[in-house]
């Protein structure tokens, strides 16, 4: 418990360092844009695959249940709501954490153990502003956009899956989406995408920057990033779901 609190404190302080250096993003805008384009391009195929199959799997499962009750007309709405509210954000975030998060941690970790970060420090530059700030924002903003894009793709995946396997026409599938996946579902999906994206960006950059002890240290940083990202995403999922639902409940929308 003490160790967990210490870890949390270190992460919080590092996050504050990143927030404090936000204006430096303008100075390092070229690096940010390069990282942003690179991460986005590299992660597109993962996002499309994850989105398509998340939507498809859930649609097939829902279809099995609903057809026994003759309620197949509800499939599009239920599947879209379930996917964008819960399964989609968490699964796509896991995949992105495994790909983008691990890569960024390994990159920063390697820079640390090969003295690139110390060398930049010795040249009078602030290594957090120079290396970490552009990567943090590039990963976080990319993850948010990719998650939202992945959720749109997941709707498409569900629609194609039931069209091909159960012959449910896309127009029928799309008909109920508006009724089931309206305001609260969209707010929940976007809120989760934002929180997961920033968590991923922060965790991978912090662990990469804190790497110690050669190549073994880089491996350790990547492992920490994977574990911490997944735990943080699950915990954040619970709290965001609870808070957004509560907000809509208070607002009288659910």
């Amino acid at each position: 418990m003490k160790l967990a609190l210490k870890n949390f404190k270190e992460h919080f302080l590092f996050f504050m360092e990143l927030v404090k250096r936000l204006p430096q993003l303008f100075v390092e805008r070229r690096e940010f844009l390069l990282q942003f384009a690179d991460i986005g391009f590299r992660s597109l195929s993962t996002t499309i695959t994850a989105g398509l199959f998340t939507g498809a799997i859930l649609a097939l499962q829902f279809h099995l249940q609903l057809k026994d009750f003759g309620a197949e007309s509800l499939l599009g709405g239920l599947n879209t709501s379930g996917t964008i509210r819960e399964v989609g954000p968490i699964l796509i975030a896991f995949m992105l954490a495994g790909k983008v998060g691990a890569f960024t941690s390994a990159e920063l970790g390697t820079m640390k153990v090969t003295d690139q970060i110390q060398a930049v420090r010795c040249l009078g530059l602030d290594p957090i502003s120079f290396f970490v700030v552009p990567r943090f924002w590039a990963v976080a903003l990319n993850a948010v956009l990719l998650l939202i894009f992945g959720l749109v793709v997941s709707v498409l995946g569900g629609m194609i899956a039931v069209w091909v396997t159960a012959g449910i026409h896309p127009s029928q599938y799309l008909l109920m989406i508006e009724r089931f996946a309206s305001g609260p579902s969209l707010v929940l999906a976007v809120s989760k995408s934002i929180v997961f994206g920033f968590l991923m960006g922060h965790i991978c950059c912090a662990n990469g920057y804190w790497t110690e002890g050669g190549t073994q240290g880089v491996g350790e940083a990547v492992k920490k990033t994977a574990v911490q990202s997944m735990v943080a995403i699950v915990l954040a999922d619970f709290f965001v779901t609870h808070l957004v639902t509560l907000a809509f409940f208070i607002g009288g929308m659910v």
Binding site: T110, M111, T114, D115, Q116, A119, R121, C122, L123, G124
Partner: protein, 243 residues
């Protein structure tokens, strides 16, 4: 002038520097020799604030820097350029971007002139075609080391610190780098502090040398004095040389 006084540094239970006392004069080429783990690189890293001493004092030109904050070290790092054991070039940046890291604030024309001068100083000016647009992994290790040296020279530091600059290089390249160190020091009037294992090249390059053992200076002198030394650690080094 650089001065270490009673400098102590431990990592966990391991004492690395045990009261290091050493004075390096302005403008000289000074070599610090010793076996692995005797605290040579650790001492060097204290000069640019990469490590903080447990106790003791460090002066650079009458300025006591032992308790400086990270911010206070910025001007010191402009004064002291450190060449790392590894080339430490930023992999994700091309050579031009690596070279200008320490001189980003200068106008483009001035940057170009300075880079031309630095590349000439390290003997890279005409060696590699399209040098600027290429990335560090595309050139040899020796060339990366020379490029890293050029990058360190560009902000025009008064003191150059070299942390085992010839590690991983073939003997011919090692000789070349040592000549470069000597040449830069003489031509540009810079103080050079070199941490090394290489006694042969050190004797040929240094104005003075110090031999470290267990975090303390056990021998100190000019190459001639070191060659005649009876200190066991120095004698062991010289014995290796004969072998």
């Amino acid at each position: 002038m650089i001065r270490f006084q009673e400098l102590r540094k431990s990592f966990g239970s391991k004492n690395i520097l045990n009261g290091l006392d050493l004075e390096i004069n302005t403008g000289e080429v000074f070599f610090i020799l010793g076996r692995s783990g005797t605290g040579k690189s650790v001492a060097l890293k204290h000069l640019v604030g990469l490590l903080k001493a447990d106790s003791g004092k460090i002066w650079i030109d009458d300025e006591e820097i032992s308790n400086y904050s990270e911010q206070a070290f910025y001007p010191i790092r402009r004064k002291c350029g450190l060449v790392f054991q590894l080339p430490a070039l930023v992999d994700s940046r091309n050579h031009y971007e690596n070279l200008v890291l320490g001189i980003r604030h200068l106008p483009i024309e001035e940057k170009k002139n300075k880079i031309e001068w630095a590349l000439e100083a390290v003997g890279l000016e005409k060696l590699i075609p399209n040098l600027f647009d290429r990335f560090p992994p595309s050139i040899s290790y020796g060339e990366q080391k020379r490029l890293a040296l050029a990058r360190t020279l560009l902000p025009n530091p008064e003191i150059l610190l070299y942390d085992e600059p010839t590690t991983g290089l073939d003997p011919k390249s090692s000789v070349h780098i040592h000549k470069l160190i000597r040449g830069i020091s003489l031509n540009e009037g810079k103080t050079s502090v070199v941490v090394s294992h290489d006694m042969r090249n050190a004797l040929a390059t240094a104005d003075r040398l110090a031999v470290l053992d267990a975090g303390q200076v056990v021998d100190l002198g000019t190459p001639e004095q070191i060659l005649a030394s009876k200190v066991p650690m120095t004698a062991a080094f010289l014995e290796d040389l004969k072998a």
